[in-house]
C-alpha cells in the first residue's frame, strides 16, 4: 500500500491512493470484520469475559475488573483482534459495554467502602455509561448477552435486550457465565430461552470457553 501511495506526488492524490489501498486490502483479506459487543446486566462478568477473549486472541485485556458494581462506566474497546476457530477467521473489535440497569443509586456504592463523593461520581458516570451503551447497540454486528447463572434470568433488562436485538435482526449468543460458582444454574437460562443459543461458561476459570468460540465461529460463518 505504501508503494501504491508512493506513485502519487501530491498529498490529495496520496490520500485517495491510501483509501483505494485500504479497500483493496479489505477485499484481498479473507477475514470478515465484526464489531462484537458484550452486554448484559451489571456484574455478570462481561469485563472478565472480554479480557479472556482479548488475552486469548490478542494477548491484551480489554477492561478493568472489580467486584464493585458499574466498574465499566464507559465503553471499552479492543480493535484488530485476530479471532480464529474451526477455519473461521474474523477481525474482531471487542466492545465491552457498561452494565445495563434501570436504577442507579449512589448509596449502593458506599457499601463497598466508597465515600459519598466517590459514590456520587461513580453513580453519575454509571448513568452516562448506560446511555452510551444503549446508543452503541446500533453499531454492533454480533452480541454476547452475558448473564449470571447464579441469578434468575427473568430480569426485564435481559428480556428487553434480547427483544431489541431480535427486532434489529442482530445475531447474538446468550452466555451463561459464572458456572464455577456452586449455586450456578445455567440449565435455568437454557430452559428460559430455549429458542436461543445458550453457552454455559466460566469466564474466570475458562471452563466452556472453547464452546463459546465455536458458537461465535458458527454464527459468523
Amino acid at each position: 500500500m505504501v508503494l501504491f501511495e508512493a506513485l502519487f506526488k501530491n498529498s490529495a492524490h496520496q490520500n485517495m491512493a491510501s483509501s483505494i489501498g485500504n479497500v483493496f486490502s479489505r477485499l484481498l483479506s479473507k477475514k470478515k470484520q465484526a464489531n462484537m459487543c458484550l452486554i448484559g446486566e451489571v456484574n455478570t462478568g462481561k469485563s472478565t469475559l472480554a479480557n479472556r477473549i482479548g488475552m486469548d486472541f490478542a494477548g491484551k485485556p480489554v477492561s478493568r475488573v472489580s467486584e464493585i458494581p458499574h466498574e465499566t462506566r464507559s465503553i471499552q474497546t479492543l480493535e484488530k483482534v485476530d479471532f480464529q476457530k474451526d477455519g473461521t477467521q474474523l477481525e474482531l473489535t471487542i466492545i465491552d459495554m457498561p452494565g445495563i440497569a434501570t436504577k442507579v443509586d449512589w448509596r449502593e456504592f458506599t457499601k463497598y467502602g466508597l465515600n459519598k463523593n466517590e459514590a456520587m461520581t461513580r453513580a453519575k458516570e454509571a448513568t452516562k455509561g448506560i446511555i452510551e451503551a444503549i446508543k452503541e447497540l446500533n453499531n454492533i454486528d454480533l452480541a454476547l448477552v452475558v448473564m449470571d447463572s447464579t441469578r434468575v434470568p427473568f430480569d426485564q433488562v435481559n428480556l428487553t435486550l434480547l427483544g431489541a436485538l431480535e427486532m434489529q435482526k442482530k445475531p447474538f449468543i446468550i452466555v451463561a457465565n459464572k458456572t464455577d460458582l456452586p449455586e450456578a444454574s445455567p440449565e435455568m437460562i437454557k430452559e428460559t430461552f430455549p429458542q436461543h443459543i445458550v453457552v454455559p461458561i466460566s469466564a474466570l476459570t475458562g471452563e466452556g470457553i472453547e464452546d463459546l468460540y465455536e458458537a461465535i465461529a458458527k454464527i459468523a460463518s
Binding site: 453513580a123 452516562k128 435486550l161
Partner: protein, 116 residues
C-alpha cells in the same frame, strides 16, 4: 395523601396510542418520579423500553430519583376452539418507582409488593 399510600395509574391503549414516544416516556417518568405506579395497556416494545431506560438515566438525581422498576407481561389468549377463533395477545407494562415497589412474576402471576 399519606406517604404509605401508593397510587396506581392505569393508562388504556387508546391514550397510549395518541402520544408520541417521547411524550409517552415523559408521562411515565413524570408519574413514577411522583411515586406513582404506572400500568400501560399494550406493553412497550423492546426498543421503547431501551428508550425508557435511556431517559430514566438522564433523569437520575442523587437524592430525588434513583430509577425505575420495569416489567412487561405478554400472554396469548384464544377466544374459542372454532376454526375462526382468533388469538389475541394481551400485553401490559408496569413501571414503578425503584425504591417503593418490588415487581415479581411467579408462575405468570404478577405481584407488586409495595413498601410501607
Amino acid at each position: 395523601m399519606s406517604s404509605s399510600v401508593v397510587r396506581v395509574d392505569f393508562i388504556p391503549e387508546v391514550t397510549v396510542e395518541k402520544l408520541s414516544l417521547p411524550n409517552r416516556l415523559d408521562l411515565i417518568l413524570d408519574s413514577v418520579a411522583n411515586n406513582k405506579v404506572v400500568v400501560i395497556e399494550k406493553a412497550l416494545e423492546p426498543q421503547e423500553e431501551l428508550a425508557l431506560i435511556q431517559k430514566t438515566m438522564e433523569r437520575v438525581d442523587a437524592d430525588k430519583f434513583t430509577g425505575i422498576k420495569l416489567f412487561s407481561l405478554k400472554s396469548k389468549v384464544n377466544n374459542g376452539k372454532s376454526f375462526f377463533s382468533k388469538t389475541k395477545e394481551l400485553t401490559f407494562s408496569v413501571i414503578a418507582p425503584s425504591d417503593a415497589v418490588q415487581v415479581t412474576d411467579i408462575n405468570g402471576i404478577l405481584s407488586l409488593s409495595i413498601a410501607q
